[in-house]
């Protein structure tokens, strides 16, 4: 059981630089009012799930601005034109994106960045350079059953032509490039493809969460760029996994905090039986439990990010713990948040439903709490 804490900074490596970025992101995002924009985009489609169009809603201009601010390239190595910051910084931003339930390909692009960094090849660097130039990148490996590791991919590469289908790819409609795991005779590799390329068919899923888009990539002999040699694909994924998990957990930590604050606020203002409902302990105590859950997840997210940047040996353990905690927090805060809002929280008009669905979605991404703990068991 590794508990090495010696090499890690006490303050999680969170300094002035990170704080400035976090505050700037807060201001920038609150000016954008992403939920209002989302509301406008889905207006008149109270039943958008059943519409013909399966589109992901997002503000393209806001994304361009964010790339211009350098946020999407913050973890891209300097040699590829980025700021070469670590996961601690990326997490500071991801938490704000979650807190705003913002539809954006930022999270996927940051995750792709950490995955590409671990590949450390000229081909991967070329994709990193495109990120620095403003490209949005999605990544995936899942089969139709939602497998949690690329070794189970159903995509096969022969002479660098890919066939098969990758499911559950996040932000697919927003992406310029998609990175996919593919099996070759000599082992697992990763490929990059332009989303508009020949033999690449993108099919959007009809998903519950209105703040994201997701889809599958159907490949019929599509030509891709091989990013790592066969066999090197698994180790690259495994060493990036702590970052991938922690970024999802950070999104949850932000959204859970929103749910907590919104529910506490509602409990102070909504009056029943001549009192604000927060007076009643059957309301008050579960809100406190939401805070406890959210705080534990947040602390683990910071610890995991710090370990990834400063103490790689302990990074996987802490990332599994962070996602384990965050997944359960997502389920719990979504559940209590909606329940304690009463009927209003169940309506289409309420922002609570938007966060509820975002939390539900993130809860399952890369595996829920049980899945993380079952992976953790092998480490202890």
């Amino acid at each position: 059981m590794s508990n090495s804490n010696q090499t890690q900074p006490k303050d999680f490596g969170y300094g002035e630089e990170q704080d400035m970025l976090k505050n700037a992101a807060q201001r920038f995002i609150s000016d954008l009012a992403p939920l209002e924009a989302l509301r406008k985009a889905i207006a008149g489609t109270e039943d958008p799930y059943l519409g013909e169009e399966r589109r992901g809603f997002y503000d393209v201009d806001a994304w361009r601005e964010m790339t211009a601010l350098g946020w999407s390239a913050l973890a891209v190595p300097e040699r590829c034109g980025g700021a070469e910051m670590g996961l601690v910084t990326a997490v500071a931003l991801a938490e704000e994106i979650g807190a705003a339930a913002m539809p954006t390909p930022l999270a996927s692009t940051l995750q792709s960045t950490f995955l590409l960094r671990e590949m450390a090849t000229p081909e991967a660097d070329a994709v990193l350079t495109r990120i620095a130039e403003g490209a949005a990148v999605a990544w995936g490996f899942s089969d139709a059953h939602g497998s949690l590791h690329p070794r189970d991919t159903s995509v096969v590469a022969e002479q660098r032509l890919l066939s098969g289908t990758v499911h559950f790819v996040q932000d697919l409609q927003k992406a310029d490039v998609v990175i996919l795991a593919a099996r070759e005779e000599a082992g697992l590799a990763w490929y990059a493809l332009d989303t508009g390329g020949d033999g690449v068919q993108l099919v959007a899923d009809r998903i519950v969460d209105l703040t994201r888009d997701q889809g599958r990539v159907e490949l019929n002999g599509a030509a891709g760029t091989r990013l790592v040699d066969p066999g090197a694909g698994e180790p690259a994924f495994d060493s990036a996994l702590p970052a991938l998990l922690t970024l999802v957990a950070a999104d949850i930590a932000g959204a859970a905090e929103w749910m907590l604050q919104a529910t506490a606020e509602y409990a102070k203002t909504r009056q029943q039986f001549d009192r604000p409902i927060g007076f009643f302990q059957a309301v008050k105590h579960p809100i406190v439990d939401m805070m406890i859950a959210a705080d534990q997840s947040r602390s683990l997210v910071y610890a995991a990010a710090c370990a990834f940047d400063f103490d790689r040996e302990d990074a996987l353990r802490l990332a599994l713990l962070a996602k384990s905690s965050a997944s359960d927090t997502a389920g719990f805060c979504a559940n209590r948040g909606t329940q304690l809002h009463g009927g209003i929280g169940f309506t289409w008009e309420s922002d609570v439903q938007i966060y509820h669905k975002r939390l539900m979605h993130a809860q399952q991404l890369l595996g829920d709490g049980v899945a993380q703990r079952s992976a953790l068991a092998a480490l202890l």
Partner: protein, 402 residues
């Protein structure tokens, strides 16, 4: 040379503490010590633990940051280092945990110069053991409804009433006493005193716990004389002072001594994992049972989270306000400990029935005993329900429950 001139950097002091604890770890007692200082009653244990506390005090591990005028070692901010090393070393607890954890911070914040000079040094050495006389038969969670009376008589106060659940009451020389000095003012009618346990009119009667142990007591106060110079802060200011004592009790304030427990939460969860790996069921370790293992790992996750919460307290930009995490620590720590022991019962299965003294009991019955004693944490010092009220009201601003 004073210790503080000898060890000027945190690293040097940490190394010193670690090496000292390694070299001075005491021999175990003949009769095993209770799991926590709450249950100490035997003179043999008391003498052993007082000697141990004195040794640690003299070595600088207690009152590390307290000024030398009050018997402290005068370091700047090294108590945390000493306390962490004590916890890490797994050495016996300090018997005077109420004196160190409650009296000392209360006196430092509210005591007179005279009181600090008189009472603090013997708290640190362990010569004077303290107890806390807050709860009464009619005043538990609603502490401010207490009815023990103190009436002014010249330069003295005369106290009548009774206290209950008084931990260490049978060993203590002094009590932190809350008494009513004004019947018509619930909160503003309480005054805080230092009461001698050796005074005429003080009767201590032990109460037994569900574990079969004792440690807490009924204390009857009959015309007990308390000199006015043993009053802490103003007449009627007792409630505010009590709140600061309780903040210390709940671990939400910086202590001046070390922690009372010699078991860290990380030790407990690691012991539980080891138990699951070595307890066989259906010919396989319980650890192989996916359902139980998931419950264990959920506790492991929360244990690590609590430790990382502690780390986050030190990072103002990330801690969500100064009191948000500290006010959670007692609630979360005690409930986590309780759930951990409940899971241990499931791991043990039918063997969970075996108690201390049974030759087949795992770890000499410490799991069952420990399980029962976790209710100390969830009930005393403000129950978990009261903690949730406090968090909802003070941190989240929800309307007050009466």
């Amino acid at each position: 040379m004073a210790l503080r001139d000898e060890y000027t950097t945190p690293e040097a002091f940490r190394t010193y503490c670690r090496e000292w604890l390694e070299a001075n770890r005491p021999e175990p007692t003949r009769m095993p010590l209770p799991q926590a200082a709450y249950e100490v009653t035997l003179p043999e244990h008391r003498d052993y633990l007082v000697a141990w506390q004195r040794k640690c005090y003299e070595a600088g591990l207690i009152a590390t940051d307290v000024s030398p005028e009050y018997g402290g070692h005068g370091f700047d901010d090294f108590q945390m280092i000493a306390s962490n090393e004590v916890r890490r070393a797994g050495v016996p607890y300090f018997i005077n945990w109420i004196g160190l954890g409650m009296t000392a911070p209360t006196l430092l914040a509210h005591g007179t110069e005279e009181q600090k000079r008189t009472y603090l040094p013997p708290i640190f050495t362990g010569d004077d053991i303290w107890c806390q006389g807050f709860s009464e038969p009619g005043a538990g969670s609603d502490l401010a409804s207490l009815s023990t009376r103190a009436e002014k008589d010249g330069d003295n106060w005369v106290v009548n009433g009774s206290k209950v659940w008084t931990s260490l009451g049978s060993l203590a020389s002094w009590m932190l006493l809350l008494a009513r000095t004004d019947r018509d003012n619930k909160y503003g009618g309480i005054t805080y005193f230092i009461c001698s346990m050796r005074e005429q009119g003080v009767t201590v009667r032990p109460i037994h716990k569900m574990t079969g142990e004792s440690g807490f007591n009924e204390v009857f106060l009959e015309d007990v004389v308390v000199p006015d110079h043993q009053r802490i802060d103003a007449v009627g200011a007792g409630w505010q002072v009590a709140m600061s004592t309780l903040t210390s009790e709940r671990g939400a304030a910086k202590g001046v001594g070390a922690v009372p427990s010699s078991e860290s939460p990380m030790d407990n969860i690691e012991a539980l994992i080891a138990l699951a790996k070595t307890t066989m069921r259906h010919g396989r370790p319980v650890w192989d049972d996916a359902v139980l293992r998931d419950r264990i790992l959920k506790i492991y996750e929360r244990t690590v989270a609590v430790m990382q919460n502690g780390r986050r307290m030190g990072v103002p930009a990330l801690n969500g306000g100064a009191m948000r995490i500290p006010l959670q620590s007692k609630l979360v720590g005690s409930e986590l400990g309780q759930e951990l022991h409940q899971v241990a019962m499931s791991v043990l299965g039918p063997a969970a029935s075996l108690y201390v003294g049974d030759e087949h009991a795992r770890a000499d019955g410490k799991w069952a005993l420990g399980y029962m004693n976790t209710y100390t944490g969830t009930i005393s010092g403000g129950s978990s329900e009261i903690q949730r009220n406090i968090l909802g009201e003070r941190v989240l601003g929800l309307p007050k429950t009466k």
